[in-house]
Symmetry: C2
Amino acid sequence: MVRSREFDEHKVLDTAMHLFWEKGYEAASLNDLTAAMGIQKPSIYSAFGNKEELFETALRKYTQMHASAARAQLSRSASVKEAFREYFEQIVAQESGTERRRGCFCINTMVELAPHHAKFEILTREHQNYLAALFEETIKRGIRSGELSEEMNAQAVAQSLLIALIGLTVLLKSRPEPSLISNAITVTLTLLH
Amino acid sequence: MVRSREFDEHKVLDTAMHLFWEKGYEAASLNDLTAAMGIQKPSIYSAFGNKEELFETALRKYTQMHASAARAQLSRSASVKEAFREYFEQIVAQESGTERRRGCFCINTMVELAPHHAKFEILTREHQNYLAALFEETIKRGIRSGELSEEMNAQAVAQSLLIALIGLTVLLKSRPEPSLISNAITVTLTLLH
DNA sequence: TTCATTACTTACCGATCAGTATGTTATAAT
DNA sequence: ATTATAACATACTGATCGGTAAGTAATGAA
């Protein structure tokens, strides 16, 4: 009774996510989006609503992806210290490899939109809170295993590491001297001692 | 022989700086600028060149202002630990006081423009390097006075504190729970122990 | 007072913005 | 095969973008 959709919704949403991630909300125009997604504007509007709704859907997809990737990364090593070190260093390696440094879509949105749109202020805050809780869990695992001191304030240290992670991700956009970053990570991770 | 300028160049540049600071490069339109600055578009173009040049001039003014404010802030207390604590807490207090959280103009630019414009990548990197050097000087003052250990790697700790400062400034845009932030700052500053 | 020069205001430029009306094509139930 | 329905492509909308042409007003040197 109906004509069937000719594009893969998940695929084109993924493309939109990467475009918003790289260029931000304002700088990514609908013409950019149609060109990248390979579909026309009416198709975007019928499938995702307007630009802001498409952006929100893309960001939600990103935060889910990012959250599970972070969880996987922090679970890879039995040592909590090692896990965090690998996590930080993976971010440096990842960003250094690309020409255009996209950083983190959620952090980019926190800077561009959170102060002007309550919806994105809340959405980004909730994701940061999720990451902080994940970090806290990981630290508590280290305390239980005896790797970390029982006197450590897991919640506060988790929040500090999250702040460091945000700062690192942002600073990498200006292509700082790699050796400076590497030493700074080592120092930051002494918070786990 | 000539008609004299009717507006104060420093004053209108200051207004433009605050507008770019709050809204970013893309979102601050020339109509927004003329309305805020109180002059017409041809006056802007004759005095400052095009939008990008005006933005660059405004950003340079900001970084100079910001650098000397940071230097003054870090010099206020004889204790280096106290100086950094006051610096971090002043930022939280400042941002918490405003409705729209502007954050730091240089950090905003690092996120929005540095990956796409080499000029702003360099400009923002140089400012961050300046701040890192200022932090390093301050830490070395603490080592000389005996407040900090001689074994401390001043450069690496300075870089870590800078990263934490960036992360804090960005995170504040999502209005996190104040108590979390306060505890995280305390933990971060143990890097000076 | 005249005149060259520069700052000003107004009105406009083509390009692009987000979003939509309209007509065509494909599908599946009848 | 017919037909209702939804997805498609094309072309358009008014608004706004950054930037400028053109004409007027003010200034100071001669």
